[in-house]
């Protein structure tokens, strides 16, 4: 049991280091897209440690406690994440629904803390984040339930093993319409550009993070990196067939995040009502068509 917990903490730490490095490399890639030189690849580490080294103010104990709850909740979620089919801290506990429920703890901690600051921009940001969540979860859930129906299991490593079995394609190819929906939902989850409404630095002054500075902001950055690790890893396991060894995982992870980032950086930002209408129009439509033709007609590539 102690060993399992240690492996789990190792997975969370691995996720933090991996995502922070990948995010730094991505900043460089985006800079090259914009014909700039770009920061050093470890710039994100410098940012986080700088924030932790600063002095910070508090806005009451809810403000501080919410940050700790957010970070703790996200670390607890990351502990359940399988990296490959064998590197897995808690056997039989890598169910998809565990991630859905535990991710909410971190998000609600952040929402509570941001509301505790008393800034109206923070309240607007939290409201927008929850609205965006409501928008992308419906099509994403339909596709994931289709996958669970097809593979007969809701465990992430089980779904990954199902895709690795001979004769089965990865679900991004097997369910092409669902793959499109999944990429769009992933961009919504990560808060990438067309769906960036709840950060919106020029409009609502970075939304939920408006009153954070110093150590609390540093902890939120760590939380954000681990959240991105969880969401991209979910995509890798559900749609890209997981990984048989760690290098395969790293390659798939890097390609997924970079592709999403590149799409994001040639887009503008939608308004919040446009985000909701968009997700309830095309992705939901495609997701339902995909579910019907995959489950009732059995047409899977």
């Amino acid at each position: 049991m102690v060993l399992n917990i240690l492996i789990g903490i190792g997975v969370a730490l691995f996720g933090f280091i991996l995502q922070t490095s990948v995010a730094g490399v991505n900043r460089k890639i985006i800079a090259r897209v914009q014909k700039r030189y770009g920061p050093r690849w470890y710039q994100e580490f410098l940012d986080i440690f700088k924030l932790l080294s600063k002095r910070s103010v508090t806005h009451g104990w809810i403000f501080d406690f919410g940050v700790i709850m957010a970070l703790g909740g996200i670390i607890a979620t990351a502990m359940f994440m399988p990296i490959t089919s064998t590197i897995l801290a808690f056997q039989n506990y890598d169910n998809f629904f565990i991630f859905v429920y535990l991710l909410a703890v971190g998000m609600l901690g952040m929402a509570m803390s941001a509301s505790g600051s008393g800034n109206p921009f923070a309240s607007i940001g939290v409201m927008r984040a929850l609205t965006t969540m409501l928008a992308y979860e419906v099509p994403f859930m339909i596709i994931v339930l289709t996958i669970i129906n097809l593979s007969g299991t809701s465990s992430l490593s089980g779904i990954a093993l199902y895709q690795q079995a001979t004769g089965n394609n990865i679900f991004l190819i097997a369910l092409p319409l669902g793959g499109i929906v999944a990429v769009l939902s992933l961009m919504g989850m990560l808060g990438k550009k067309p769906f960036e409404t709840y950060i919106a630095p020029a409009e609502i002054a970075s939304g939920p993070m408006v009153e954070y500075g110093g150590k609390q902001l540093g902890m939120l950055f760590i939380m954000h990196e681990i959240t991105v690790f969880i969401e991209v890893s979910l995509f890798v396991h559900l749609f890209l067939g997981g990984a048989t060894n760690i290098f395969e995982f790293l390659i798939k992870y890097f390609l997924t995040y970079t592709a999403v980032n590149l799409i994001s950086n040639v887009n503008g930002r939608l308004k919040i009502d446009q985000v909701v209408v968009f997700f309830y129009k095309w992705p939901l439509f495609l997701a339902i068509i995909q579910a019907v033709i995959a489950i009732y007609f059995g047409w899977v590539i």
């Binding site: 920061p39 700088k50 002095r55 970075s206 993070m209 009153e211 500075g213 110093g214």
Partner: protein, 192 residues
């Protein structure tokens, strides 16, 4: 022949340990400076080329930030009227320490072309401490970038201590602020 005896370990005092940690922090702080741009004057036009592909501020780890809480540098570009000075003081006091101030152009130094206006303050240094000035009306982009590199050098040499000066000489700064503004913290329905 060298002695094989171990020399006894020298115990560091608390001040020395604090100083060492502060130096480690300074490495991170000078390589990741986030700015809050307080663009009141015409010098702000020099910032877009500094941030985009011509000079690319991000390669030094710098970037614009949305709120004073998140920022390290308060960048005052241009003249300050009495109305904006009050907001500048609010903004400066909201930033988390260590915080640095960069004055852009000649207006924060001596008033620039507005030196004889009744509505404009002449020396920013009287009201909040300024770490680096970039002189010129307006300074070109190379000197803006040079100013930031100077600030990094100052942080490395521990001479960017404006925020400490503000704490130690708070009475003096407050006296000047009150002399210029009459009342710094306004209590009405818009500022509660």
């Amino acid at each position: 022949m060298k002695s094989t005896k171990f020399t006894p370990a020298r115990h560091l005092t608390k001040e020395e340990i604090d100083r060492k940690w502060w130096e480690v922090g300074d490495y991170f702080r000078r390589n990741s400076l986030w700015m809050l741009m307080y663009c009141t004057g015409c010098c702000a036009i020099e910032l877009p080329p500094a941030m985009t592909s011509a000079y690319d501020m991000e390669r030094l780890g710098m970037g614009p930030m949305a709120t004073p809480r998140q920022a390290d540098i308060l960048l005052v570009s241009g003249y300050l009227s009495l109305k904006t000075l009050r907001r500048l003081i609010y903004t400066y006091e909201q930033m988390s320490e260590p915080r640095y101030v960069v004055g852009l152009g000649s207006c924060p130094i001596n008033g620039g072309i507005y030196h004889d206006s009744h509505a404009v303050i002449n020396q920013l240094d009287q009201y909040i401490p300024v770490d680096t000035y970039v002189a010129g009306c307006m300074p070109n982009t190379e000197s803006v970038m040079n100013g930031f590199v100077d600030l990094m050098e100052q942080i490395k040499n521990k001479t960017a201590v404006g925020w400490k000066k503000y704490k130690d000489n708070y009475e003096w700064y407050r006296k000047n602020q009150i002399a210029a503004l009459g009342e710094v913290d306004i209590h009405d329905e818009f500022h509660e």
